[in-house]
């Protein structure tokens, strides 16, 4: 009986240890992802070439499945399996395009990593400061452990990419359910950049 405080302490130490190990792991993974992205961007000659060369790198480090699911929200359960695949595929293209449009080939940001935190088990947030074209931005990466650590959201100055699309998907879903969401996504992806 007297052992219970000790057990509690031991489990707390264990949890703490696991949390810091996972934040370090996630941080390391993010650093590798960022350097690979910059490496791929370096090889691109133009904006459209950049989108193409970033795709395989981003697909390795970003969980587009989780991003799409969260951006759609509870309505996701109403999507058929095919619709879920289609929505993920379209949203992936849109996110890669959005991400690529923020980089100009030849001009690269300087990124400083700050201390990461673990808001919940299996989740890590890595705040960074990004110096780009003379301006400084606070960028936070949300990461989750699913087949290794993967990025699930990017927040620029507190503005979440996923939440921003959630607001838009929400309106489409209310208008016409899953078909309206997919229709609007297709239309946006089809627009010339």
């Amino acid at each position: 009986m007297n052992l219970s405080p000790l057990l509690l302490l031991a489990s707390l130490i264990l949890l703490r240890g696991t949390a810091s190990a996972s934040t370090a792991e996630a941080e390391k993974r993010l650093q590798i992802a960022v350097s690979e992205v910059l490496g791929a961007a370096d090889l691109a000659s133009s904006g459209s070439a950049l989108t193409g060369s970033l795709r395989p790198v981003l697909q390795k480090y970003v969980s587009f499945d989780a991003m799409t699911r969260r951006a759609v929200g509870p309505g996701w359960r109403q999507f058929t399996e095919d619709q879920q695949k289609k929505a993920t595929q379209l949203f992936t293209t849109l996110i890669i395009r959005t991400y690529s449009s923020k980089l100009t080939p030849g001009e690269y940001p300087v990124i400083k990593f700050k201390a990461a935190s673990a808001p919940a088990p299996g989740r890590v947030e890595v705040p960074t400061t990004l110096l780009y074209q003379g301006s400084q931005y606070n960028v936070t990466y949300r990461m989750e452990e699913a087949e290794g650590w993967r990025i699930t959201d990017v927040l620029i100055e507190g503005v979440s990419l996923v939440a921003n699309y959630r607001a838009q998907f929400d309106a489409q879903f209310k208008k016409g359910g899953s078909n309206a969401v997919i229709g609007a996504l297709s239309q946006t992806v089809a627009q010339p950049q």
Binding site: G73, P74, R166
Partner: protein
């Protein structure tokens, strides 16, 4: 000229105004506002959730009442047209005429002069430590940064990253909500609370003081106009960043604005 002094300086006072994408504090609604409602209406929440979908509701839409949505949308698209037809060419011209270091110096000087906005709002928020840091920052930049042109404060770690304070943020910290979302002509996304905040920032910005005191002279308009011009490239970049690749650009701008203001109120 005199008749311009009432409205024009205000419109030109973008200086103190976090223009197209600023921020606010909204107490977040409990998760799952409109979409959850839609799901409930369809009686779909009775379906068992798959294990991975438990987190589906964590990204609830940032909440703000938008009772004037039709009018807001009209102003949003009008602004969008004005940005394309007038402001973008002006902004590009400005970027072409002046090299980046010169523009940066002008930006720094105007931001430095806005010191009273940050000082007074930090004090009103009861954050005297930050008010003191702002004071240090102002003196460092003014004295050794050639009147604020060079941001020498960045050399000091304690002064490099002091969060900016504004009047709308002060209201948020006092617990005042947005009221309603509104899109202002030219200035873009705002709310009832933040519009009052803008008026406060305007009054506290020394750049606008001359216009208020000596309205009627051309130079009293020239300074706020320069301020508007120098802020344009950055504000248009923020606008583009928020609305590019959006399914609905109005909703994208609104969501970005509310999230940004929410974050600012937490700083």
């Amino acid at each position: 000229m005199k008749r311009h002094t009432s409205l024009l300086p205000f419109l030109l006072a973008v200086s103190s105004v976090p223009l197209l994408t600023s921020c606010t504090s909204v107490p977040r609604k409990p998760p799952g506002p409109s979409l959850s409602a839609a799901v409930r209406n369809n009686k779909l929440d009775a379906k068992p959730a798959k294990a991975k979908e438990d987190d589906l509701d964590e990204y609830s839409t940032a909440s703000v009442a938008d009772p004037f949505e039709p009018l807001n949308r009209a102003i949003f698209w009008l602004n969008d047209g004005v940005y394309t037809v007038a402001l973008r060419p002006i902004s590009k011209g400005y970027e072409k005429v002046l090299p980046k270091p010169v523009r940066q110096g002008i930006d720094n000087a105007f931001e430095n002069v806005k010191f009273p906005v940050r000082l007074i709002n930090n004090a009103l928020q009861g954050n005297f430590k930050r008010a003191w840091l702002e004071t240090e920052r102002f003196f460092v930049n003014t004295v050794i940064g050639f009147g604020g042109i060079v941001r020498q404060s960045d050399r000091f770690p304690s002064l490099a990253d002091v969060p900016a304070a504004d009047t709308g943020q002060t209201f948020a910290k006092w617990g005042i909500g947005h009221g309603a979302y509104i899109v202002l002509p030219l200035l873009g996304p705002s709310s009832l609370r933040d519009t009052v905040g803008l008026a406060g920032d305007y009054a506290l910005n020394p750049v606008n003081l001359a216009t208020t005191l000596y309205g009627g002279y051309a130079w009293t308009i020239a300074i706020p106009s320069t301020n508007t011009l120098r802020a344009m490239p950055d504000e248009l970049a923020k606008y583009d960043s928020a609305t590019k690749n959006a399914l609905d650009r109005y909703l994208a701008a609104r969501s970005s604005y509310i999230q940004y203001r929410h974050k600012a109120a937490l700083k």
